[in-house]
């Protein structure tokens, strides 16, 4: 069961030598459970920074994020790791997988950390790999998969334990447009069938058109936030 993710007045300032670089300025968002949200904006507008803060990978300079009813500011590093494990899925631009593990093992990884019993784990991982269209490739190592296939494994891993939210930072940046479309269709299907919330960043208008809500960032501020398809 998903919860609403709340971003409360988040600012992030990077210190670079003598200079303060504001990456995010007073961002507040409510991301409803089951949403399919795209984050777009020019390079350097703060997309990655925002996703990292929502996912508890980075700490805001000011403000807070509420995931699963918990304030991320109040959590220690280990508690954040635990929360990411149980509640948050990640899909990065590339190199999402652990190279020494097979596709199946990469998907099982999360459940293994969660202590899901062996049989159930294997069954669920096999099923989700089939869902993302990789049936028969379970034993392959990441190096033996194409970029698109790797991203599919990453999506499978991100959703397999039904997180509150999946954060995808430019998941299609390294894919051609056809493969990008297929990945987005897959994410959309997971969103609709499983009710998993997705927030993804992108530069690509083709990708954006899948989103039901489009948030535009510029210079670390939300400059546009509209729901599509109405």
């Amino acid at each position: 069961m998903s919860h609403t993710v709340i971003v409360e007045h988040v600012s992030k300032v990077y210190r670079q030598g003598e200079l303060d670089v504001p990456a995010l300025t007073d961002i507040s968002l409510v991301i409803d459970a089951g949403g399919f949200v795209s984050l777009h904006g020019p390079s350097g507008s703060g997309k990655t920074t925002l996703l990292n803060i929502i996912g508890g990978l980075d700490r805001p300079t000011a403000g807070d994020v509420i995931v699963a009813g918990k304030s991320l500011n109040s959590l220690s590093r280990s508690e954040l790791a635990e929360l990411r494990l149980d509640r948050i899925g990640f899909v990065f631009q590339s190199y999402n997988l652990i190279p020494v593990l097979s596709a199946l093992e990469n998907v099982e990884f999360i459940m293994q950390l969660q202590g899901v019993p062996d049989d159930e784990r294997r069954e669920r991982a096999m099923a989700v790999l089939k869902e993302v269209g990789l049936g028969g490739m379970e034993k392959r190592r990441p190096a033996q998969l194409s970029g698109g296939q790797q991203q599919r494994v990453a999506v499978a891993r991100a959703i397999v334990s039904n997180p509150d939210i999946v954060l995808a930072d430019e998941p299609t940046a390294n894919l051609d447009s056809k493969t990008s479309a297929k990945l987005l269709e897959l994410m959309q299907k997971m969103n609709q069938e499983r009710g998993v919330t997705f927030v993804f960043s992108t530069h690509d208008p083709l990708v954006m058109k899948y989103a039901r809500r489009l948030i535009a960032l510029s210079d670390g501020r939300v400059v546009d936030d509209q729901s599509a398809g109405k």
Binding site: S43, T48, N52, G55, L57, D58, R77, S78, A81, E82, R84, L85, D86, G89, F90, F92, Q93, S94, Y95, N96, I98, P99, V100, L101, F109, I110, Q112, L113, Q114, G115, R157, D169, E170
Partner: protein, 413 residues
């Protein structure tokens, strides 16, 4: 920690695959660990061999495992400190322990004079049958009636002493010593045999006559200076010495360790040096290991960030690295132990160090060394390697665990 065993299993599996990832580097590290373990255990085996040889020589050099004397004899081994023999109580006590041999001796300082030279020596009156298998002299003069061949006035002296006295076998020498009445006693003996010993000093120090001849010469009828005992089971030494000491307060009872403080001291110095050597080698090996781990972590920084992003806690990152180090240490140690055992097999017939014998002779070692690989040394080396290796790897592991996911994964623009 949630699902502890599942996580430990996952980490062990990951660490193992990580080790196989850079086989060249892992093999190099593993070899360093093996060679370190091998060098430490083999050195220990050789050193123990030398030590055992020293102890054996000392025991064989008339000392035995246990000696019994009149009070103060060890301080002042003179004729004054003698005791009546036979002694019912001692006999009964010695029957109760597992002795391999018992030799009863007269042992006093004396002067031996040939026609040309005079030397001070220790006069030992022995029963050759008793000395057999117990001391070198018993085995050197196998024919028991060497002394009586000359009508109970035979004497056996060392080759080096013979040369110094500028005399020959078959010639007569005169022994002078203090008798029980504090007078100078003297008596002529005929040299019936000459013995060679491992050490020249032994050849120069002792002259042997029959116990009866010594007793007669010194007026010690029914009295002796010392009883030397060897044991069947040398591990019982401490127990038996303690028991004899308690039962014989009117005597002095000593173990060979007390009588040969130099050998005992050398043994403990050797222990110290071995330990120091272990430390030097193992710390060096550990540095290599730590370096390897740092390289591995550096190569895998991104991945460490990734695993943290998807749910590894800092502690798990730490364990992942420590486990990898553990695999390297365990496999290195196993190979090192196998090498050590092979080395022992190879050298089991002894290492001939006669080329350096002059040096070793001085510390009382014969020219063959038999490696003595003790379980306790193997255990000590292996435990040290594991402890120091793991302790060393905690540092890189800790550094890895301090990486934040964002830092570790770098910026993807």
């Amino acid at each position: 920690m949630k699902a502890f065993s599942a996580r430990a299993g996952l980490l062990l599996g990951l660490a193992f695959r990580n080790m196989l990832r850079n086989p060249r580097r892992s093999i190099l590290t593993l070899s360093a660990i093996s060679v370190g373990v091998w060098s430490c255990t083999s050195l220990a085996a050789l050193a123990r061999g030398v030590g055992a040889e020293m102890a054996r020589d000392a025991i064989y050099n008339l000392t035995g495992h246990i000696q019994i004397h009149a009070p103060d004899y060890v301080e002042d081994p003179s004729i004054e400190h003698r005791f009546k023999w036979p002694n019912q109580k001692i006999n009964r006590l010695l029957k109760e322990i597992d002795t391999a041999g018992i030799a009863v001796r007269v042992r006093v300082p004396a002067v031996v004079a040939s026609e040309r030279e005079t030397r001070s020596v220790t006069l030992v009156g022995i029963d050759p049958a008793q000395e057999q298998g117990l001391s070198f002299i018993g085995d050197k003069i196998s024919a028991g009636d060497l002394f009586s061949a000359a009508g109970k006035s035979g004497i056996v002296i060392g080759r080096a002493l013979l040369d110094e006295l500028e005399t020959k076998q078959g010639k007569r020498v005169v022994l002078l010593s203090q008798n029980t009445k504090n007078e100078i006693a003297d008596r002529g003996f005929r040299i019936t045999a000459v013995f060679d010993a491992e050490l020249e000093s032994t050849e120069k120090s002792y002259v042997f006559v029959s116990r009866e001849a010594a007793q007669t010469m010194l007026g010690m009828q029914g009295e002796v200076s010392e009883i030397a005992v060897t044991l069947k089971d040398k591990d019982k030494l401490h127990e038996y010495v303690t028991r004899l000491k308690q039962a014989l307060p009117e005597f002095e009872v000593h173990s060979w360790r007390e009588l040969e403080p130099l050998v005992t001291a050398l043994n403990s110095i050797q222990n110290g040096f071995l330990f120091l050597w272990y430390l030097i080698v193992i710390v060096t090996v550990a540095f290599g290991l730590v370096n390897t781990l740092f390289m591995a972590i550096y190569e895998r920084t991104y991945e460490i960030g990734l695993t943290q992003a998807i749910g590894f806690s800092p502690l798990m990152v730490l364990f992942e690295v420590v486990f990898e180090s553990f695999y390297l240490l365990i496999s290195g140690a196993i190979i090192g132990n196998i090498l050590a055992l092979l080395t022992n097999l190879w050298l089991k017939d002894g290492v001939d160090v006669s080329a350096f014998a002059r040096g070793t002779e001085m510390i009382g070692v014969s020219s063959m060394i038999y490696p003595d690989q003790r379980i306790s040394d193997l255990v000590a080396v292996n435990i040290l390697v594991l402890i120091i290796g793991i302790a060393g790897s905690v540092y890189p592991a800790w550094r890895a665990s301090r990486l934040t996911p964002v830092e570790a994964m770098g910026r993807r623009e």
